[in-house]
């Protein structure tokens, strides 16, 4: 079996593990197997690339983290007090690592399957627990190091080697702080709630992380414009509660020679707390952690009193949009699937949020230079910036292929066993379900913001843009290979991304162009709207009028 440098480094600390009562050779073996398995696991992003040469994937992601780290590093060059700068940098680093821990490594921490394999062998539980922690630590520390590397280098250059030394030590403390606090957080959640709740919470963290990342990328260029105000840091009692403050304090003490009680106390917290957490974790939490982990698959079967009433209400609501029985069933089915499948939510929600924010970001970017807020407002109102809604259109229409994907895509065998007369009713129901529950509310919300800015006069435009959105959605659907809802794995989206991107681009440029020309020349958009509505209706009928019944073999589990 391949040996790893990481493990060779770990060998140097063998005595530590022996002291903890860990069977080091066994732990090393477990880690080795885990690392080999990780190398072979192809992340979904790279799954369609053919070169599955070992270990490139994780290294690629390290490179990306390093690039993000360069942005963080820029703060060290600003003319503020070191304490303040380190606060910002460490704060961002902690946020990043915490998010990565929660989104990517929760599954490792919460794995119950490996226990079934390992505990049935003559291995002590402690060894397994430590191996698990070290496994995560190896990854988290590599990531921490790549995010911090730019700051580490530039900082050492600017403030001397002492800076580098403190920073490096801090990174070790920070990674362990993140791991132990996350595990304890999970422990507490599992202690009080059941596994489904924890999975939901993790899911919302992941969604939030994706949204924050998207916004950060948009704002990176503007960061320095925003922070051109002088910051005066005042000592407040609650600053003792902020992790980045603890870890930033030693820099002030040692490099800027500020031996003040305030900084000293903070520095001590920063050292003691991670160590304390380590002790608490292994002495108190770990023995019980595995026990509560068993709850992970439990689900307190809620007693729902009025499920029948609720279902009837849903059905009545669906009746407003669907006149066919099968269509109606799939309308509700689609909504339930999306709202209960975490992986779909993870893909859909960020793009919905982004669809809301993106026109606003573009407006901000294009008028941001014009000085005061009232000036900005005037520029916006006098322009036709509501046409940026076409960005929302292209983002929202992207959710169409998502309808065909699911983690449970293998369960789609059921569709072909069911007596469905016409496949088109399935598609219609699903599409309508998506539009009514997600697309329409999000679009209305963005539109509302624009109506507040521009007044009622843009309502016709907003309706026209919505008609165009629907048209784009069925165009994307029509030119896809029309798999059944939830019958494909997420790879499907990756394979179709480019085509859909060009379809949206072409469509939006064309429709927005016509729209812009009409407004520019003072024509009413109402006629445009009527024409587009007719095209939409004809297209809808044409696409769905054929009775289609053919299940391709590849749609069905072979």
């Amino acid at each position: 079996m391949r040996d790893f440098i990481t493990l060779k480094i770990l060998d140097k600390f063998m005595f530590l593990f022996n002291k903890l009562g860990v069977d080091y050779p066994v732990m090393r073996k477990i880690l080795q197997v885990k690392l080999i398995m990780d190398e072979r696991r192809v992340p979904t992003i790279l799954a369609n690339e053919k070169n599955n040469g070992d270990k490139n994937n994780f290294k690629k992601s390290l490179l990306i983290y390093c690039l993000i780290g360069i942005v963080f590093m820029l703060f060290i060059l600003l003319p503020f007090s070191l304490f303040f700068k380190m606060n910002i940098i460490l704060g961002m680093i902690i946020f990043m690592i915490m998010s990565i821990m929660i989104s990517d490594y929760s599954s490792v921490l919460l794995d119950v399957k490996e226990k079934n394999i390992l505990l049935s062998k003559p291995i002590e539980e402690k060894t397994i627990t430590v191996a698990k922690m070290i496994h995560i630590l190896i990854y988290l520390f590599s990531i921490t190091l790549s995010i911090s590397a730019p700051t580490l280098l530039v900082g050492s250059f600017k403030y001397g080697m002492v800076f580098g030394l403190i920073f490096f030590l801090q990174l070790i403390f920070i990674s362990s702080f993140v791991i132990f606090s996350t595990s304890m957080l999970y422990y507490l959640i599992l202690y009080f709630f059941d596994g489904e709740k924890l999975k939901d919470i993790i899911n919302y963290f992941q969604i939030a992380l994706t949204v924050v990342m998207l916004i950060v990328y948009q704002l990176v260029g503007r960061v320095f414009n925003i922070i051109n105000l002088e910051v005066i840091f005042t000592q407040k009692w609650w600053s003792y509660l902020i992790p980045s403050v603890w870890f930033a304090a030693p820099f002030s003490v040692i490099i800027e020679n500020q031996w003040i009680n305030y900084y000293l106390v903070l520095s001590i917290i920063g050292v003691i707390l991670p160590i304390l957490m380590l002790i608490i974790y292994f002495k108190i939490v770990a023995p019980h952690f595995e026990k509560v982990l068993q709850k992970l698959n439990n689900n307190s079967g809620k007693t729902v009193k009025d499920a029948l009433k609720g279902e009837k209400r849903n059905k009545k609501f669906a009746d407003l949009f669907c006149y066919n029985k099968t269509e109606n069933v799939f309308f509700r089915f689609t909504q339930k699937m999306i709202s209960s499948e975490r992986n779909i939510k993870l893909k859909l929600y960020p793009s919905l949020t982004f669809a809301t924010i993106i026109p606003l970001i573009f407006i901000f970017n294009s008028v941001g230079q014009s000085g005061s807020f009232t000036d900005m407002y005037k520029t916006v109102v006098s322009g036709n910036y509501y046409l940026f809604l076409y960005f929302t259109v292209s983002m929202l229409a992207n959710s169409v292929p998502l309808l065909s994907t699911s983690d449970r895509n293998k369960a789609a065998w059921i569709f072909s066993v069911l007596p469905v007369e016409n496949k088109n009713t399935i598609y219609k129901g699903s599409l309508k379900g998506l539009i009514i529950k997600y697309i329409f509310p999000v679009y209305s919300f963005v539109s509302l913001i624009f109506i507040i800015i521009y007044g009622y006069r843009i309502i016709p435009d907003i309706i026209v843009i919505f008609i165009n959105l629907l048209l784009l959605m069925i165009i994307i659907f029509h030119f896809s290979d029309k798999p059944l809802p939830f019958s494909q794995d997420f790879q499907y989206i990756k394979n179709n991304n480019i085509i859909i991107f060009f379809q949206s681009l072409f469509f939006c440029v064309l429709t927005a162009g016509i729209h812009w020309v009409l407004i520019k020349n003072g024509y009413s958009v109402i006629l445009y709207g009527i024409v587009m509505l007719m095209i939409l209706m004809i297209a809808w009928n044409k696409i769905f009028s054929k009775k289609e019944y053919s299940f391709k073999i590849n749609e069905v589990e072979k």
Partner: protein
């Protein structure tokens, strides 16, 4: 036999790429029979079932269900069929109630009726507490029970069960066996595929043994026993599939463990 023929298969052939999986199957199944459909791994059992269900279309030969060719009207006959697949794939992010509702409505049942049936059937299978729990949190046996309920909720005439007992506890197995014979009494036809010979031997009114894409035995257990002069279905199975070295292999296996 003067009974009504419900499934008839004539000269059914099927090939995947080069490999011929079914080499001309002829079978007539009568109403109310429980067919034990057995065969070694890869013998073509699942393929047959999938053709009958309309999951595979590019076969040769003729398949009639209820007297009508299944390629003629691909949908209507599915109302009369219930199916439990071998792999328990299910949209398990839904709750049991939601899943059963979805299936039931597509079979054309009314919501009130589904509610009543689902609650009652779940209670009978001892699952009343998890009716509104997500299926993902269920054990294997519980999932299997949901699949069984889902396949029967529309009261079908023809049932296809592929290893339906996997994961069920002994009590549930007994209930399920009773359900099968009760269903057969009511004139339902059951296609039962399994590798557990003891159960097939006990419940089947007719046993069909498939080997290498051909039917090598067809008849009641008693008939097969007489023909092959073996005591149990397991032994008949071994004989007909031409496998008789199990003792030697087992001995060698154990002696390897002890270190030769």
């Amino acid at each position: 036999m003067d009974k009504e023929i419900i499934v008839s298969i004539k000269n059914l052939r099927m090939r995947y790429d080069e490999k011929e999986v079914l080499k001309g199957i002829n079978l007539e199944i009568y109403k109310g029979q429980i067919i034990g459909y057995i065969g070694a791994n890869g013998a073509g059992k699942s393929t047959t079932v999938k053709i009958l269900l309309g999951l595979i279309n590019d076969y040769e030969g003729e398949v009639k269900i209820g007297g009508e060719d299944i390629t003629k009207n691909k949908v209507a006959y599915k109302r009369r069929i219930g199916y439990v697949p071998e792999t328990a794939e299910i949209f398990d992010n839904l709750t049991a109630y939601e899943y059963l509702n979805f299936i039931g409505e597509l079979y054309g049942l009314d919501i009130n009726e589904i509610e009543k049936k689902a609650t009652k059937l779940m209670t009978l299978f001892n699952l009343e507490k998890v009716l509104h729990g997500r299926i993902s949190s269920f054990s294997k046996g519980m999932k299997q029970k949901i699949l069984i309920i889902a396949s029967l909720i529309h009261n079908p005439d023809i049932l296809f069960f592929d290893e339906p007992l996997s994961g069920l506890d002994a009590n549930s197995v007994m209930i399920f066996k009773e359900i099968l014979s009760e269903l057969a009494n009511q004139g339902k036809t059951i296609f039962y595929s399994s590798h557990i010979m003891e159960i097939v031997e006990k419940i089947s009114s007719r046993i069909v043994l498939l080997n290498n894409g051909e039917i090598v035995a067809d008849g009641t257990f008693e008939e097969l026993k007489e023909k092959s002069k073996e005591g149990s279905l397991e032994e008949i199975f071994n004989q007909l599939t031409g496998f008789n070295k199990y003792k030697e292999i087992a001995c060698e296996f154990v002696s390897t463990l002890q270190g030769v």
